[in-house]
Symmetry: C2
Subunit: 333 residues, 2 copies
Amino acid sequence: METKSQMRDEKYAADISSIREAQVRISPFIHKTPVLSSETLNSIAGRKLHFKCECFQKGGAFKFRGACNAIFSLNDDQAAKGVVTHSSGNHAAALSLAAKLRGIAAYIVIPKNAPKCKVENVIRYNGQVIWSEPPMRSREDMATKVLQETGAVLVHPYNDGHIISGQGTISLELLEQAPQIDTIIVPISGGGLISGVALAAKSINPAIRVLAAEPKGANDAAQSKGAGRIITLPETNTIADGLRAFLGDLTWPIVRDFVDDIITVEDKDIIEAMRLCYEILKVAVEPSGAIGLAAVLSDDFRNNLAWKDCNNIGIILSGGNVDLGVLWDSFLK
Amino acid sequence: METKSQMRDEKYAADISSIREAQVRISPFIHKTPVLSSETLNSIAGRKLHFKCECFQKGGAFKFRGACNAIFSLNDDQAAKGVVTHSSGNHAAALSLAAKLRGIAAYIVIPKNAPKCKVENVIRYNGQVIWSEPPMRSREDMATKVLQETGAVLVHPYNDGHIISGQGTISLELLEQAPQIDTIIVPISGGGLISGVALAAKSINPAIRVLAAEPKGANDAAQSKGAGRIITLPETNTIADGLRAFLGDLTWPIVRDFVDDIITVEDKDIIEAMRLCYEILKVAVEPSGAIGLAAVLSDDFRNNLAWKDCNNIGIILSGGNVDLGVLWDSFLK
């Protein structure tokens, strides 16, 4: 396995081989999530939509795939000292659960403003919560401190080859479940999910289009694609709490080379997409998870001639960890 | 096919043959719904739970199976005059959709107090809404009037062999998807769903236990089983708007002979089960749909020695048509 990994293209942190290896490694632990469809939503969108329900994944989000791959790739000496991460929530819960399954410690640095249900998930899975101030710098500093004290292995939420490979297993499943798919729309934040999904999908079928969906109030990835280099923002402003991270040095080259375009959407359209998921699909999706549907329904996508041939669209509903009160309040605004 | 049906046991309105025929008839139209599971809910329940997600069925409820079977069993002369029904909502939407697929008229008598989202579903599927007063008598009278004026065929929501056979297809799918199931828990109202489910399940494996879940405020089925005859109630009082009907002369003999027990639950426990479905399974389930989980978590079930060997329980999440505001309000009470 290591040999194969060493053979991979030096330019990227993962490839179809590492993704297939991840699938074998994590398949005893993950849910193979269903793909749902709705004639009503098809007729609203004017295309056939195939919803890959990662909200039903263990821990309530796709993050468990990458976390599981990272944890079960550790050797025994590494594993004995545990793992540490800083995270907006879903990666934290996922890493806690994967660590619990392997019987090792997970030290989780969480910003004080994380959604309650995401913190509860960490505690449910025996993660050891260490609070930090919200800014990413504070979170990283606290994680480094824990790492120095415990000798634990840092598992970055997205800028990590094992994480990217784990998330890529979604494409392997999705294209087996709905082989007619010609386009996949994926939420983008730090880029771990879309990097894995794009590498696997394009390797299986180079004609598949991979599009990112990003909040207008955290459009660093769109700006990065435009500038040809990683752009970070002084601040972000979006209801999608899972989409506030910036691209890393491992995810950026993959996003640069394999993501066909980035569609940015307003928060109000994310909320409307959440409502459609709830009312029509009967699925609880968090704001970050609903953004793919919002993108498909946006004027920017509908009116772009480049995408008029996207007839069978895979939409990754990336997570479902949303407090019901938050959902309800957002509908009233 | 008619010949086979005529061969069935005279005592019952359906059997495994009519249910297998229904499966062939409706499979081009229905969703094969997924079975979800959650380690968290397993550990809360102390058993393995397998959730059959009929909330993802077309129209948002299992009712589409029976409606589809009834509509596509009509001959062309019958079909030309359309169909009529009175319904608390999900059957109405299902019949409208099935009629739309066959290109025939559906006249839907709906009580004025039906949930808004259920009425919207009828309209979405081109059903012709005819309002009535809430009592069942008023609804039936109005349906008879429409029937006389149009010559349409009455498709009863549950007291109908085709309806029962259609709902029974759930067992065929569920026992293929999760063959280890030893118990199935099913919401009971008029008895169409549980009749089909019980006939099919017991035919495939006579050792499978089939239990009904019923609201304490509409416990006519439990009273009927106790009395050995159909009992109706002067009024019902439950949040589960889909579970207020009484057994019919076709469903009663099946419930009497094939349902092992009826577990009654309080509305507050139904609401708690809805919350668990939302927060942990990430699935929107209406009160009637969540009652099976409420039953499994009830003290009556946990403490009953007769059910201590129920280790793999299939729970039918029968529908997901719930207004989000209603859901939220119920959590605050």
